[in-house]
Point group: D2
Chain length 355, copies 4
Amino acid sequence: MNSHPVNVAVIGASGYSGEELVRLLLHHPQVELTAVTSRQYAGQTLAQIFPKFASHPRAKALRFSEPNAELLARQAEVVFLALPHGVAAEFAVPLLQHGCRVIDLSADFRLRNAEVYREFYTHAHPAPDLLAQAVYGLPEVHRAQIQGARLVASPGCYPTSILLPTLPLLRAGLIRSHGIIADSLSGVSGAGRKAEADYLFCECNESVRPYAVPKHRHLSEIEEQLSLAAGAKVVLQFTPHLIPVNRGILTTLYFTPTRRLSCLDDETARSLEIVACYREAYATEPFVRLLEGRALPDTKNVVGTNVLEIAWCLDPRTGRLIVMSAEDNLIKGAGGQAVQSMNIMCGFPETAGLA
Amino acid sequence: MNSHPVNVAVIGASGYSGEELVRLLLHHPQVELTAVTSRQYAGQTLAQIFPKFASHPRAKALRFSEPNAELLARQAEVVFLALPHGVAAEFAVPLLQHGCRVIDLSADFRLRNAEVYREFYTHAHPAPDLLAQAVYGLPEVHRAQIQGARLVASPGCYPTSILLPTLPLLRAGLIRSHGIIADSLSGVSGAGRKAEADYLFCECNESVRPYAVPKHRHLSEIEEQLSLAAGAKVVLQFTPHLIPVNRGILTTLYFTPTRRLSCLDDETARSLEIVACYREAYATEPFVRLLEGRALPDTKNVVGTNVLEIAWCLDPRTGRLIVMSAEDNLIKGAGGQAVQSMNIMCGFPETAGLA
Amino acid sequence: MNSHPVNVAVIGASGYSGEELVRLLLHHPQVELTAVTSRQYAGQTLAQIFPKFASHPRAKALRFSEPNAELLARQAEVVFLALPHGVAAEFAVPLLQHGCRVIDLSADFRLRNAEVYREFYTHAHPAPDLLAQAVYGLPEVHRAQIQGARLVASPGCYPTSILLPTLPLLRAGLIRSHGIIADSLSGVSGAGRKAEADYLFCECNESVRPYAVPKHRHLSEIEEQLSLAAGAKVVLQFTPHLIPVNRGILTTLYFTPTRRLSCLDDETARSLEIVACYREAYATEPFVRLLEGRALPDTKNVVGTNVLEIAWCLDPRTGRLIVMSAEDNLIKGAGGQAVQSMNIMCGFPETAGLA
Amino acid sequence: MNSHPVNVAVIGASGYSGEELVRLLLHHPQVELTAVTSRQYAGQTLAQIFPKFASHPRAKALRFSEPNAELLARQAEVVFLALPHGVAAEFAVPLLQHGCRVIDLSADFRLRNAEVYREFYTHAHPAPDLLAQAVYGLPEVHRAQIQGARLVASPGCYPTSILLPTLPLLRAGLIRSHGIIADSLSGVSGAGRKAEADYLFCECNESVRPYAVPKHRHLSEIEEQLSLAAGAKVVLQFTPHLIPVNRGILTTLYFTPTRRLSCLDDETARSLEIVACYREAYATEPFVRLLEGRALPDTKNVVGTNVLEIAWCLDPRTGRLIVMSAEDNLIKGAGGQAVQSMNIMCGFPETAGLA
């Protein structure tokens, strides 16, 4: 196990994901945060921009710089990109050339197919040659590849909340790959720190609304990962909703079992096969919590942690399997998962800085 | 049209539905609120218990009384029951015998079948003989029967948000009755003014959670109404979630069209047949708003009103029809809809006191 | 009493105050809303911009226009200005010249002294000649002058919450004019519909913060009105705080009585003299509610209404008089109060459209 | 410095303060949490009652027990009491007799004078003999006494937010001890996990209200500590308000300087003497953050931490000094401060488990 600290930089550290990532890295026992960049805040310290970090000595000393790939490559071995899609790729290319390991929190390297990227992101992929070497950074699924990766594409918040509950069932052939529905509820930080009227307090508070129906961009990476697991093209129904909490995603999934599942007991509607499948997949995973008995996920039990909660029940009336998950969209859905990948890449304990 | 005022009483006026009903009745131009009952508050004025009504002269004068059916029958021609199920029926029986017209906001008379009631409410129906004469108080669907009804069972909040968008499609044969999914998000007032830890501010704020999965009690009335419309037994998948707003229900419905629907235009994914169906059903309804263009429902646009908003889109990728609705659970989902029924029963303009 | 409807226009109808004003005017029984202006939304209907109004027939028909004083003067007898300070005066001048009666919701005409305006608003007053004829639109205090006014300066939200509780005590000589402290808590709509990062949901939710300490602009009009009542220059300590609610202002005032006040009873700490003073001032006022017994103001009891609640207690330990008020910042603190002034100017019942 | 782990128990671990304390102790590097008690939850594991802790191995193993002083004294060297006042003292007595060190989060040992306790808590003090040996657990003020204490009375949430900003100014003679006003805003967790209607989500959300005016119980300990610092009896004006956030207290303090203070510069209204006084008191304190420039406290910057933020400004118009503080009521205002005292008592680094 590696134990000397690693020098780390964050490019685009001023949004909500970037801020949370910086918080995690400041407290990570094996990380030295050597650079944070922000065009908007260049010259100011972390403490000035994020008063909540101001009691941390590093936050008082470290100043935002203008992003400069060559310079960053001298300051850091691992560089996180917390940038908008399209922009992230512009930095990934030179950083990789200079030998950095790159963990990208944008959508730029999550897809293998540049055409799908163009369809969903409405512009040509800025660095299609890198797609083949990028690893989709879902540690519970792609741990081995992450270990040796030079470029990790950290998954989106919605995809994480959908893929972790779905992939084991799909791989085990317990559910049909056709007709899956994912209904998701997200806190407002998911929209980023954009000064747009739609995300003003008075527009979000006391409001609940669907959006991006029926073709949210995250569908592309979810479907690609589901298709890989199913061995066939999967088309998903996905409806995101905006709800008035700062953080948290709650996803409710509707599946059709491929065969009659045994029912463990009537009260909890748990099924032996589903229990076995999830336990096999996640019993030893530090960041997946399988709920027991009649407990259902609640975002307040995962917010502030890197944990994703899963519960499920068979509905004997409809024959469907309902699976529900909860996560913190900025941690397991963004910065925390990225740090988890870094831990794997650097040989640190996977929970370092995340417990 | 009737224009002399009607004497009205509310039994169980201390919960959230009762309070909202009282507010509507206090401001109703053709209503004289003559009695409100509450065991807990008997002897105190409306103004003392609900300070927000204190500027209304009637609220300063009217005192809560102990509920007494005989006395109430002398004080009121129309009596609203805002009581828990089971208790409501106990009052309905004597009030009807004394000649009152009764509008019940509980679940006691929403089902035709006492066995289904026993299955979902876990006790025998307290007055099964009345089930045959009760009218399900969804004015947009059962207006004619409400007009002559002596006993109206005002629908639940979730059922209203699901039935209004679904029934026209089902009756027109545009969607399959099998495999319907309703995913609903409700504000906390839906749980009532119960002093339970689960509904404390700190337990609900910054929290999102499913509950009563997979068999919420409201399924019984929803399925009965859907089955009537479909002419065949309909089994529904229904998942309610609790979200941190005071009021509002947002429901997302997943339907399978029975045939290929034309697509009006690519951008809005509206379909000619769906547009026509909804317009036929609701174009002249004062309390159903069909959204146009790309607009999607938002609870903040209906809270405080008796309006239910509907929008829909065809998903060409999955072939499904997605319909979304928003309402105020305490108005269109409870007190407002009950007043709408009263207006119909009394020959008042249907929008009286509700605009 | 006048009863034919009055033609009314709103300039700058797209902010929160403008929107609330439009809502009140749409439902006002003696108002015909003939024009709404917004540079940003010109050409679109009220229903398109504010979906919550979409069920109102007028909202479907009325389109935002570019603001044009000459044209507006032909369309309306009364014109409301819901514009930023500085801009409002530019419209007031030609509208008055064309014979309109103007009710300005900005700060432009609230002060008598153009120098004080320059000090607090940091630019020269755009129309100092109009200051002498403008009437400060606090109906409970300046009703007689409002009646004949051609230009009403509708008070700010904080000033209303401070002046109504303070002025009667000051005029009666019950409190010292020196050393008054006003500590106010405001909902986020007070900041307007500005797309600034400070007012994003995630920046306001789960946050409480003072701002504009120690010299908020509203001090200028508060101090001018207090000084007029005291007959001497009053300097106020005023601290506004932003709290995560959409609407509502709660103000806590600290006064020093000029003499020993009798204490009505120990439990409620009400004083005979204070009770008498407030009753004399407000007992017949429809929009001021004096709380009795031990009740304290709560914004949730006034939000959505034009009512300001007042409660008070003598603190025998410190000798101070504590007075607390609550109002809806967008109604009694803005649009509602402006409509109240219009009702007075037009000879309508003062509560028309506001009950 | 002590470095072997200490065995710790928490009595009354089911309220919000107890839960937060448990969270801190579970993650404390030098603590072994050996017992948690709760009559209500006896027999269940921490993980079952608090799902958010369920990923922590200790939480899966540790079960709530019935509180038994003798048994606890064998399980723990340090015992935290997170019990209601009155009840806490009943456990403190036998625990101390059995040799435990006790940190009490209730009000039972915060006052030196049993008569004042009786006045404010309306019952006789249950263990007046212990008052003399109890140390008021405000580490920044009483660190030396805490070190050797056997019984620490951890301060209330409001007192902490008022005392830390006030004591240095009072001791330095910079402000008058007469006429101080503290206006405080608290999140709802301050009311505890009581299933009372007043604290239901719908009663607190979209609501702001003062309460316990003018004589909140916390006045007793605040005044005692202020009087000790001033060397004379101090009577405080204190108005608490309930605001719709889970956590956080924001206090605004109004002081009268004893003499003319220099003004560092016009823009920030900082004063040399105040800056010097606060720096002397807190420059090296890890958990007090003095804001610089024009920054003002915001609860969102301290929630989740043990930090109290302080900012101040001189108002040249009134001559007053305004000081504002922000803290997390459950951490610096309760569990975190108690752990800070434990660290001092046990010779651990004061920031252990709190950074």
